[in-house]
């Protein structure tokens, strides 16, 4: 049985995927997670999840088909506007 291991490096930080381990049941999985992802104090907390319980999201998990770049920050060109704003500020009386 495969288990996915998530580790938290420091308190307050998000859990991140560390890797996976093979273990016959939850008790073994906990022990092995500690051995492989926590023995050198590299984690302050661990989560283990049976791989079967992890759902991979399928369709419609796709990139934009239509151009909706206004939804993204990079859809706006700030360069020209920044330049304009700087000039205006520079031109303003001190």
């Amino acid at each position: 049985m495969i288990w996915e291991v998530f580790r938290q490096e420091r308190e307050g930080q998000p859990f991140q995927h560390g890797g996976s381990i093979e273990a016959p049941n939850r008790e073994f999985a906990e022990a092995y997670a500690i051995e492989l992802y926590g023995r050198r104090a590299e984690s302050v907390a661990l989560w283990i999840v049976p791989r079967d319980e992890v759902r991979e999201v399928q369709e419609p998990y796709v990139a934009d088909v239509f151009d909706r770049d206004y939804r993204r920050v990079d859809g706006y060109s700030l360069k020209a506007r920044l330049k304009e704003a700087r000039e205006r500020a520079g031109a303003a009386p001190a």
């Binding site: 381990i21 093979e22 273990a23 016959p24 008790e27 073994f28 022990a31 092995y32 051995e35 492989l36 023995r39």
Partner: protein, 222 residues
Amino acid sequence: MSAQAPPRPELDVVLAFADDELILGWRDSEWTGIAPFLEEDVAFSSIAQGEIGHARALYELAAAELGTDADALAFDRSPGEYRCAPLVELRLVHDWAGTIARHWLYETADGVRVAALIESDWPELAGLAAKMDREEAYHRMHAQMWAERLRSSAERERFETAVEELWPAALGLLEGEQRDRLCELVGREPVEAIGRDEHTDELGPLWDEMTMVRRSVPGAAW
């Protein structure tokens, strides 16, 4: 240590304990690279390292009393001077059921021994025993998990046969009332124990290998 101070009565217990941990750590480490699967390989190697770490701490404690150092106690004695119990000397590599049977018996007995040492009047020993117990609790959990797993598997008979065979030597790890406690914990009747009076033939070859590098350049600082 002043010349008048009598040797601490527990010194012999400490040395026997250190020898047990060193030799078992060595035996368990023979599984490194060939344990049944990768995760267990890491876990069992880590436990082996843990035992050797405990041996070092105990040797250091004894060495301070004896005016020597931990390496000298671990590697410079002749095989006959070691105080380890026959249980830990057996080479069980390739027999996983037997290895787990010994692991389970040893860790259970170790729990009894450590609990007694935590109550010692020798403060350094009591403190060290308490520290060791934190790691030994993990060793016991690991041993218990495996014992239960093998008991509920097709390997059940092999495991139970191994426990049966090793039982007299497991009892020989302890003395007196501690033996009764071990009987209770593992649910077995007392038998004639195989104690520390004699070593098995398997200690010699292990000692040869274990001390080979150190003997190759006597007195070297590594």
